[in-house]
């Protein structure tokens, strides 16, 4: 765990040798410039709440793509470039996990707000947070130039990666091994205009991909998106493509760059239905098997997973140095030796940690197995759809499809005079 033992108070006991007697010279004070005013946090929270309300209003009430784009730009500038990527709803998952498992960790209020408010809104209105409040989403939304359609099967399979990422992030955060979502945040270097070279390169690559493939991070990586997808499925008032009734004109079929629009279903023959039911039965039976297999596989990952933890890495390094399998020492092993702590203690701790990671690796593997199993089940269930509608798990409420819909155009034209009058 990340229990920090600061011996600041222990310094009290140290007796200091007096500085020289100067005839007339005042000792300067060490300056302690303060950081950001803490009150800004409340501003951030208020801004978040306002952003969520506005985004939901633009997506569901006004059905205004322009409003969403404008809001996304503001979010990108405010949360991205101004606040430099921290605080972030995606990263908040880790703080929350750490807070659950380590009572000594103080989770900031802003983090709680950034974790809970978007989830709450998603539960009722779908992923409007993704549409226009998340700075990462905004960057991708605004840099999508030439959308290329990705085959549905790619979405279905790669769409599982966020769940795996989520499991790993929670695992590492809860064990105090690190915040991997933050370490591998591709856009934060872009917001700060600095960062380490590898991450900047990764960011550039994702931006380039994002020119053609809509929201690559949101769709194939974002762990929060995975949770949002689940929440959004039950959202009561999700974005609809036609404002009222679908006339099945098929104009919106290709409108979505994120592959979220599902066409109406066609009726099946009884034979097909029977086959489908049998298949579903098989998939349901397969799911527990996958969980067991996943658990087993995850269990074998104890060593690689535990190596993410600094304590284990250090113990491993010390052992290598002891065995003479590596040349020289590193700062961390030197620092450890200088503390005078017996190495055995470190090894005991590291072995205990590894055992813990074996257990947690099993859990992670089981989770991945469960996710895959559920996906297979999900892909085998047929739901009836009468009109073109967005898949709530995939739809980020970006509002692109609105203008494709002739019904929408109709309403717009009807509303035009009133709008002009009201000066919009």
């Amino acid at each position: 765990m990340m229990v920090v033992a600061v011996s600041a108070a222990a310094a009290l006991a140290v007796e200091r040798f007096p500085p020289p007697d100067f005839t007339d010279h005042q000792l300067p004070q060490t300056t302690t410039p303060h950081g950001r005013w803490l009150g800004w946090e409340y501003f951030d929270m208020a801004a978040l709440a306002a952003g969520l309300v506005l985004a939901s209003y633009f997506a569901l009430g006004r059905r205004s793509r322009k409003g969403l784009v404008g809001l996304a730009t503001v979010a990108m500038v405010w949360l991205g470039f101004w606040r430099q990527g921290c605080v972030c709803a995606i990263g908040a998952i880790q703080n929350v996990s750490l807070a659950v498992f380590d009572p000594s960790y103080t989770v900031p209020l802003t983090v709680i707000a950034f974790f809970a408010l978007p989830l709450l809104v998603t539960l009722f209105f779908g992923r409007t947070f993704c549409a226009a409040v998340c700075p990462l989403g905004a960057v991708q939304e605004l840099t999508l130039v030439r959308p290329v359609r990705v085959p549905g099967w790619v979405d279905q399979s790669l769409g599982l990666v966020p769940f795996i990422y989520l499991g790993a992030a929670v695992l590492f955060a809860a064990t105090g091994a690190g915040f991997i979502i933050c370490q591998y945040d591709p856009y934060v270097g872009f917001f700060r205009l600095s960062g380490n070279a590898a991450m900047i390169t990764f960011g550039i690559c994702l931006l380039v991909i994002g020119l053609f493939i809509g929201r690559p991070y949101c769709r194939y990586l974002c762990p929060l998106g995975a949770i949002f997808g689940l929440f959004s499925r039950v959202s009561g008032r999700h974005v609809r493509i036609p404002p009222d009734e679908c006339i099945q004109c098929r104009l919106c079929e290709d409108a979505c760059p994120y592959g979220a629009i599902r066409p109406p279903t066609v009726p099946q023959t009884p034979a097909e239905r029977a086959r489908g039911r049998r298949r579903l039965g098989w998939m349901l039976a397969l799911a527990p098997v996958l969980v067991v297999v996943g658990t087993g596989l995850g269990y074998t990952l104890a060593t690689p997973l535990s190596l993410v933890h600094r304590e284990v890495r250090l113990a491993e390094r010390m052992k290598l140095e002891e065995a003479g399998k590596v040349e020289g020492t590193i700062d961390a092993s030197d620092a450890f030796r200088n503390t005078g702590r017996p190495a055995r203690e470190l090894y005991t701790e590291a072995i205990a940690l590894r055992e813990r990671f074996a257990f947690l690796g099993g859990l992670l593997g089981g989770w991945v197995g469960l996710v895959i199993g559920m996906k297979l089940v999900h892909l085998s269930i047929r739901r009836k759809r009468d009109e073109y509608s967005p898949d709530p798990a995939w739809c980020v409420s970006c509002g692109r499809c609105f203008e494709y819909c002739p019904s929408e155009q109709q309403t717009l034209i009807q509303e035009l005079p009133t709008l002009e009058k009201s000066g919009v």
Binding site: A10, T201, L206, I213
Partner: protein, 348 residues
């Protein structure tokens, strides 16, 4: 075209992600000019090492402060809240409990009026104990600022005064055996060409040499100064220079400790790069007793930040047989060194 771009970006991105540093194990990557390297100065030419360790006395002290030699070469170690007494063979003889933490001590030698009388320097005062360990006197307190770091006793037939080095006031106090403070020595004085003691840290040692002079370390100037007991500065007898080289004193302020050798000459102990060296009576470098390889086996310890910034500084003493006693607080022991070449003992 787009496909190629995407695939390329995915590939580069994957490589980039795999290269993200997950720990600082690779080091800071700063150029060589940013290294602070004392390695070359820590290795000592083996030919210069004239002593070898012949034994050691383990100490059950969590903080040991000073070592001294008394009559019959008894060894006295002060630390925690006690003084441990060993005989010349290293057998523990007795233990004197103290009421506060000692900083330094000196023992009346065989030539003294009261041989075996123990003078213990606490932070701000001196306490006197009889050879049997009974407390005989507590001398006046020297005030808030005082930090006593060393005591020496004059052993000649007609002089029995006691000198205490006060690092806080940056001066040496002279006492008579009854504890009366007679004078202060070494205060800055332009006429007498006394620059004053420059003491940046609480290491300030002195010794009485056989020639009847008081030798005081001026650590900030990296030299050993000579004073008569009356406080007259003997400028020509000053010796010592600042250098990382083996014949000089390293760092900002050294030597930290010093003792007079029986046949004339000095043994000095430095902090920073812990090394114990022998100098002749006129300050010429003779050789090395022990270096960092013995006294700081954890190679990097000295350059790195330490808890509370407590430097483990060694103290030294020499007995009548020319053995050198090195108090190694980090290892919690007194190391006993003897000359490799028996001729050395008489020569130096």
């Amino acid at each position: 075209m787009i496909g190629i771009a995407v695939v390329l970006a995915v590939a580069i991105g994957a490589v980039a992600v795999s290269r993200v540093p997950r720990s600082g194990d690779a080091g800071s990557g700063l150029p060589q000019r940013f290294d602070y390297d004392l390695k070359t100065h820590k290795t000592i030419d083996p030919a210069l090492i004239l002593y070898r360790q012949a034994g050691e006395l383990p100490l059950d002290l969590s903080a040991s402060r000073a070592v001294a030699v008394g009559p019959e070469d008894r060894i006295y170690v002060a630390g925690d809240q006690k003084i441990l007494v060993f005989d010349r063979e290293g057998t523990r003889r007795s233990e004197i409990a103290l009421e506060s933490e000692p900083r330094c001590l000196a023992v009346g030698g065989a030539g003294n009026k009261e041989p075996g009388r123990i003078y213990v320097g606490m932070r701000d005062h001196v306490e006197v104990y009889g050879p049997d360990g009974t407390r005989q006197a507590v001398w006046e307190r020297l005030g808030e600022k005082a930090v006593l770091t060393s005591i020496a006793v004059a052993d000649s037939a007609d002089e029995h005064d006691i000198f205490a080095a006060d690092a806080g006031h940056r001066v040496v106090h002279r006492y008579d055996p009854s504890g009366k403070r007679l004078a202060e020595i070494g205060r800055r004085n332009r006429e007498q060409k006394i620059r004053g003691f420059i003491i940046p840290s609480p290491y300030f040692d002195l010794a009485v040499t056989a020639d009847g002079l008081l030798r005081v370390v001026n650590p900030g100037m990296h030299r050993i100064e000579a004073y008569t007991f009356d406080g007259h500065f003997e400028e020509p007898l000053v010796w010592g220079k600042a250098s990382l080289e083996i014949e000089g004193f390293c760092g900002c302020c050294n030597p930290a400790n010093m003792a007079a050798m029986p046949g004339g000459g000095y043994v000095t102990a430095e902090k920073g790069i812990p090394r114990v060296k022998i100098y002749g009576a006129d300050g010429n470098f003779v050789g090395v007793v022990a270096g960092p390889d013995v006294l700081a086996p954890t190679a990097t310890i000295t350059e790195e930040t330490r808890e509370d910034h407590k430097l483990e500084v060694v103290d030294v003493a020499a007995d009548s047989r020319g053995r050198i006693l090195v108090l190694d607080p980090a290892a919690r022991k007194v190391r006993i060194f003897v000359a490799r070449n028996p001729q050395m003992e008489t020569k130096s």
